[in-house]
Point group: none
Chain length 163, copies 2
Amino acid sequence: MPGLWRFSSHNGKGRGLLTLFVLHSLSKEPKSGYGLLKEIERKTKGLWMPSKGTLYPILRQLKDEELIQMVEIGKRSKNIFELTTKGKETLIGLREHRKESREKLLQFKNLFSDIFGEDKGEDEEDNGLIFEIRDIIAHLPPDKKNQAVETLEKCLGDLKRIQ
Amino acid sequence: MPGLWRFSSHNGKGRGLLTLFVLHSLSKEPKSGYGLLKEIERKTKGLWMPSKGTLYPILRQLKDEELIQMVEIGKRSKNIFELTTKGKETLIGLREHRKESREKLLQFKNLFSDIFGEDKGEDEEDNGLIFEIRDIIAHLPPDKKNQAVETLEKCLGDLKRIQ
DNA sequence: TTCGAACCGTTCGTTATCGAAATAATAATC
DNA sequence: GATTATTATTTCGATAACGAACGGTTCGAA
């Protein structure tokens, strides 16, 4: 029914991916609008660079809805935003779409395979593996985290050697 | 620089995913606008349903650009479209973004992992590691894929043992 | 000290997309 | 034969997103 990358929050309001990311990122650490843009650019290696004309209105809107608030005006007339309690609740509600988002991603991937032609197998295999790894890590009890991190570091080292 | 799912064709014109899909689908077999919508719905299990108000203008536009043409008016006053030669060329040009699209998909996936990955909060460490691992894999020459897969499998085995 | 580059935000016209309603033909069914 | 469901397209106002230009700040290097 909806667009491809739109998620509905409990109050019925549709939220786009950028909004989702803003809430998520601010929940980790308060930052400025510019900081958010830089973070996205860095994380996607420049493949996704939302327009400022898209981001700033979203920030204003989220502030109006009291999901975020200005915490200070730093240097460079930088407006630092942080999540409010209400914002945290909204984010949690949004994150319940985790399964749906995975499903969407999968369908999207299939569409691309369809359009751009097959390359079955090639990436299929290791992507699946990484998914599995992620899943295990995510459900690991905290006391085994350290072991897992060590294992991953070892794996990373091995891969670097291959490279 | 551009939006997340926009591809530029040789003439510089930006094409969205829906346009791409239309050209692709019509290249396989002529069909109506409604047929295209049904196909998308079927292929994505209803997760993506572009608005008619989005599709039909695109069809009109593509017709104006002479990338597609009406081949007949079938029953139910159905307008059947097919690709023109010019349309086929455009599609081929568009498909050259295959690599770019894969890269985008991967970055997107990472973003989602980032956003939806278990809310723990102090995940930073292993999230970063997995990110790095993914990155290395993504840029590995094909002939080293096998080694990488082996390494990952070993890692997965280790993790399972921890668990 | 001047200059350029990175930082930070706003404004605004254009384009893209949505979503819901209006219209109508055909098929299925009862 | 009337009713309803499905197929099929158009229209249009509302919203979302873009992107380019502008104005200002801070920092470091020449």
